[in-house]
Symmetry: C2
Subunit: 341 residues, 2 copies
Amino acid sequence: MADLTERQERVLASVVREYVETAQPVGSETLVRKCGLRVSSATIRNELAALEEMGFLTHPHTSAGRMPTEKGYRYFVESLMQEFELPPVEQRMIRHQFHQVTLDVDQWMRLAAAVLARASRNTALVTAPLAAQCRFKHLQLVSISEQVALLVLVLQDGTVKQQMLALAQPISQEELVRVSNRLNTHLVGLNLDQIRVLALSLSVFESDVLHVVASLMQQIDMRSSHEVYRDGIMDILRQPEFAAIERMQALLEMLEQRTLLEEILSEFAPEHGVQVVIGGESQREEMSDYSMVLSRYGLPGETGGIVGVLGPVRMQYARTIGIVRYVSSLLDDLMARMYGR
Amino acid sequence: MADLTERQERVLASVVREYVETAQPVGSETLVRKCGLRVSSATIRNELAALEEMGFLTHPHTSAGRMPTEKGYRYFVESLMQEFELPPVEQRMIRHQFHQVTLDVDQWMRLAAAVLARASRNTALVTAPLAAQCRFKHLQLVSISEQVALLVLVLQDGTVKQQMLALAQPISQEELVRVSNRLNTHLVGLNLDQIRVLALSLSVFESDVLHVVASLMQQIDMRSSHEVYRDGIMDILRQPEFAAIERMQALLEMLEQRTLLEEILSEFAPEHGVQVVIGGESQREEMSDYSMVLSRYGLPGETGGIVGVLGPVRMQYARTIGIVRYVSSLLDDLMARMYGR
DNA sequence: TGTTAGCACTCTCGGATTGAGAGTGCTAAC
DNA sequence: GTTAGCACTCTCAATCCGAGAGTGCTAACA
């Protein structure tokens, strides 16, 4: 990639900043005022033409100002922008919110999404932490009525899932407790496959219960990776790029497709550290109008998930990166305290 | 309210049906073709003028066709429309879906919302069943790590809730089981207030646990009434009334306010049976562009919630009412089988 | 008295036109 | 290398028709 002179960098940065702020193509006159260089608009025009030649800027039409291309944004993110750190006051407020909430993964995810959305004024995406493999910890059968019992399943990472069971014949609470205890001693620490094998060697009722346990564990294996928490959908829609109704619908349609989202998220946040995906860089048709700032959180190689912000390509990257980085590190801490050390 | 002649009723019904279908004001020529009366367009025009005089129809402007007023829709719903019953094939499909899903209230609600949204092509709103008062059934403490235990709480109606506990000092799994058993024998069948009283007379750790139990029960009391399941937001947005961006935003904004929704729902579905609220009849500014078809489901006087459809005032009322009625009765059955008898 | 044909009148909507404004790109001078 | 000057391009908003749809009135008719 061709090198830019210092002045060109300065002009490019100004175009990006100005365009991000106003959503309008930037003209040479405006730049003279904003970029602080003591040259005339004609000189700026020459530089603009050069930057366009190199592919950092475009024109929507002949007599409009310039706006950054994806390459322009990329250069800005890599080399020009200055790091942004969330002001300590806001950091403290956010940390406070996390401590106020109960110790519950679901709540944390919601809160993380809410915090990200509000701070970034864009749509936040958060996936629940996914344990490498789920292992049985405990189950409890509770009688609800004559014909119905409740199965509560706890996994080693603290995930809880419950399901009602229809009973073929009435079973007393005492008997249910006995069955629970017996199964617990057999199952503790086993994974899905081991439980499936064990199910073959038990009484009818017990093996029925085990089948349900197995199906729940399978659901958790699948689901915890598929659950995407979203927030701030309205925030992104307020951006001027969504003034056109079809844009708006396209975005909403995409956000409703959880599987698509999950796929994209895991594809583009493979490593710890903040990742920026700008528009068409994702190689996905549906995403070409949006940028994402993503980060993987959790214990490396173990339990972890993804937090991120989705916004228009015209996004305040520095700010967003700072926010995502902070929330991600905060979740790191929470996960470490929860599962780790 | 003035009585309408049979011909006027026929004309009104035709206007409603035609307008609902096309979203365009209906002219006299079109009506001659559609309403099946063997009269000229001039006669129809006279009837239209009469209906407008009485307040059942309006004009957007001088040279446009007629469209129903709220009063017109109301008359249509009360006296003119013919009952619609969901075709048996669809009924069977829906019932099948409910039986495929696990016995889980959360899943039922999601499914009910999905089914309603797809069948009605509008936004579905469903509130989780709210038990009259929640009573303790069972708890279980499970050790997660040295410093953390998991509390799983089961209520008599089958609600399950869990929370992590930070332990002041390590406690073994055996000890946790002992504590669980002891508390279970004390607490079974108690309500929130009774548990609060009991908490005073126990050891430090046990009363800590009880405080958490009490706070969870309180959350459930609050929350199960506030949780509103929504589906089909895209479906309603596809309607031509939301071609204008502000309409769209206003609707989305309203749907994001769960508290508002919940308030409205419980206000307008006080009784069993399907209720229709047309536009401004709700006396609420925010709702004046929308109609709702609502129904309370569940065991009368006991556990129950609300299902409904939200759509533009220009809605296929007969069809929607049929669908809501069916889903509501289906949930009635499920609730009866779950809690009842 | 109810119904109908005829017709003038009204209002909207889409397309064409136009002029102001913004911004460029080139040229020639500094 | 930088700058002033200027012609040129393109958009956007305002405006202006004209076609089309539909009404409401009148007068004639059964």
